[in-house]
Amino acid sequence: MTQLFEDYASAPGVFDEMFGEDGLRPTYAALHQRLCALGSDEVRTRSDYLSSAYIDQGVTFDIGGEERPFPLDIVPRVIAAQQWATVEAGVKQRVTAIEHFLADVYGEGKVFSDGVIPRRVVTSSPHFHRIVARLEPANGVRVHVSGIDLIRDAEGTFRVLEDNVRIPSGVSYVLTNRRAVTSALPETLTGQTIEAVNVYPQRLLAALRAAAPSGTSDPTVVVLTPGVYNSAYFEHALLARMMGVELVEGRDLVVQSGRVRMRTTRGLRPVHVIYRRVDDDFLDPVHFRNDSLLGCAGLIDAARAGNVTIANAVGNGVGDDKLVYTYVPDLIRYYLNEEPIVPGVDTWRLEDPSHREEVFDRLHELVVKPVDGSGGKGIVIGPRASAEQLDTLRATVSADPRGWIAQPVVQLSTVPTMIDGVMKPRHVDLRPFAVNSGDDIWVLPGGLTRVALPEGELIVNSSQGGGSKDTWVLAETGPTQAQSQSQSGGGSQSQSQSQSGGGSQSQSQSQSHDGEGA
């Protein structure tokens, strides 16, 4: 039997999160020890269990109408409490600044008159929607849910790669990953405390209820999905189920006299808050694409009349446009009078002729991205592209310079990942999710770690062959070994005892544990 990490070698110039230059990093010490104690064969068996569990549970995403299980790796990604504190503060700061910015863009526009960002950057964005100008959300929140994509560079520093303030997806996998990995590797949980993630649906529901139009004492919240063929349908269903609200499709809704109602077996019932997972363009055929059958005619008018809250707000796309991204540090300074806590990645604005010239000279060593892309679509990685591809790219960019930005190739950090039964370094990113209830921005501890499964691949999106990892944020208390053991003495340890023991004694133990517990 070979040792689990015996032949593991991280690539030079890349930050590996488990092994540094001096060997094993302390953050991963406990996990590493438990995994090695299990041994290679056992970890492989557990890994097989994971994939069959996801097929049985139907944890899937759709590509082109085909349902596929979402690959989940057996090795969790671990983040130390201190690192997380920085990330959390950085995400809150960013979301706060973007909220201010959106309120300003659809309100007074002081950010333009003060010369922080040119007005044309916003008005030329395809996601700028004049129809919602001066539409004041009930509790002032536009970004109810956001996902800020982070990477760790060659030094291990977290950097923001992009913001998602329209309809970020992936949080369902955070919830299912935790359940699957902890049931596959229960041993690894002893000796360390991990921040819980299962409070997310409760937080989300609270934030959505808080966003209800004023005057509704017991608001009805629904999740609006494009339907079963959407790639994230699994997530829509999971969130609706865990929040205990209806999952509706556009055809289930009807707008009458400026009020939204849903068709039920007992007739039409009012709807007050729509957590929509349908893009702006498809939301309301009256104002947007008139061939859309995914939305509901009259929704925007109902929102303007103050009878329904659409979450996230319409027109948020100007906040996560990748050209606007280059202005976010300035926006943080302008609105909050603070320095950015988490830095971004150097970015060239291709609409600027001098930037464009420089980028065109170095195209073979840069990454070029469309400003409104998601899912890794349209990204060209210079060092991997052929000469013809680069020529095509030059022509495309010259034709629409507003539509593109360029960044240096950032070597994403790696985490050991089981590939064909062997541990290999694979690149990861991190998408923490933030929920804004109006009183407070709450960041889900951890978030979704996506991992690029092909060797050396830097694009982690699931549509491009990416998988995911469970993400563990170690608890703040940073317990010494002795402390944590005495803590878990009442917790996970006694629980496992009661499971294996089965006798009346252990039963009473587990009962008393339940009594004290959460």
């Binding site: 049985d56 079963v228 189920r241 068709r263 039920t264």
Partner: protein, 308 residues
């Protein structure tokens, strides 16, 4: 509850029951052939297929039975497509189903897609389908809140069971040459044991038919199942009704049940195929009436977009 979800639940009930009952039909047909070697296999195959509503002609052979009723995903009458239908409906109502119920449907679908039914010997495949269906139904009854949604599930299950039992009875009634036809149908319904406990081992066609059609305590008899369907409909209907039945579905099903129950007991075997056809017709009309009353929202008025 959303109309669209109610419709999905209703169809989960129907599809799961359909898969089970089809397996029972295949099983009884197999038994008939094994026990009576004089049976003409081609005629028996044609009668089975036509009972299931499959068009048959002079080219229909016994080799068509298993694809049409079990394996062919393109045939609407096959078990594979019934299970796929249940799974698709479950996927659309996933946030409403209990996790365990979703998983029991999903794993059944996955294993059938991977060829489980072809791997097993035929009797074992029929047993497998029956057992999975029981697991799904039992999981639903034990883990779902017994609210409106569950009532729709039960209603779908009952209407389908009446329809399929009517086909089973037709199959027995149209094989008059076979002595064991009725006792095999009893077996197929899982009623043989129950029948023996009730009547002793004195099987006559008359007694067997009475049991399958009229017994008030056996959960697969027509009268029992119709009663269940009526109960589900009554609990779905919140209106106060002091006179008669409100709703076409309960009126139709009630009339059929009364027709069975109040018939002269000596006539129970009379004109069975015709009466069973009429019962199937009533099921289909009742199903349409339920759809019109409760699922109307799922066929919403469409937004007419595009050029004027």
């Amino acid at each position: 509850m959303l109309s669209r979800i109610a419709e999905s639940l209703f169809w989960i009930g129907r599809y799961v029951e359909r898969a089970e009952d089809t397996a029972r039909l295949i099983d009884v047909n197999l038994q008939l052939r094994v026990e009576d070697p004089t049976t003409d296999p081609t005629a028996s195959a044609r009668s089975l297929l036509s009972v299931m509503g499959v068009q048959t002609d002079e080219h229909t052979s016994p080799a068509d039975v298993l694809p049409m009723l079990m394996h062919d995903p393109a045939a609407p009458t096959s078990i594979v497509s019934a299970i796929a239908g249940a799974r698709e409906s479950a996927r659309r109502a996933r946030e409403t189903l209990s996790v365990e119920m979703w998983e029991s449907i999903n794993t059944t679908h996955n294993s059938v897609q991977r060829g489980q039914l072809k791997r097993l010997r035929l009797p074992a495949a029929c047993t497998y389908v029956r057992e999975r269906s029981t697991v799904i139904a039992g999981t639903a009854d034990n883990t779902m809140v017994q609210d409106e949604g569950w009532q729709f599930l039960v209603l779908g299950r009952c209407i389908e069971r009446v329809d399929m039992s009517a086909r089973l009875v037709t199959l027995a009634a149209t094989s008059p040459t076979q002595k064991s036809a009725w006792s095999n149908v009893l077996r197929a319904c899982g009623a043989h044991h129950a029948f023996l406990r009730t009547y002793g081992a004195m099987t006559t066609d008359q007694k067997a038919a009475e049991f399958l059609l009229l017994d008030r305590l056996f959960p697969r008899s027509l009268v029992y199942t119709l009663n269940q369907a009526e109960k589900a409909l009554a609990s779905l209907d919140q209106r106060e009704h002091r006179i008669g039945q409100s709703g076409d579905a309960s009126r139709l099903l009630g009339r059929e049940r009364a027709g069975l129950e109040f018939r002269d007991p000596d006539d129970v075997l009379m004109a069975l195929p015709e009466r069973m056809t009429q019962l199937q017709q009533a099921c289909s009309t009742a199903s349409a009436a339920v759809a019109e009353r409760y699922f109307e929202g799922s066929t919403a008025a469409l937004w007419q977009g595009g050029e004027w």
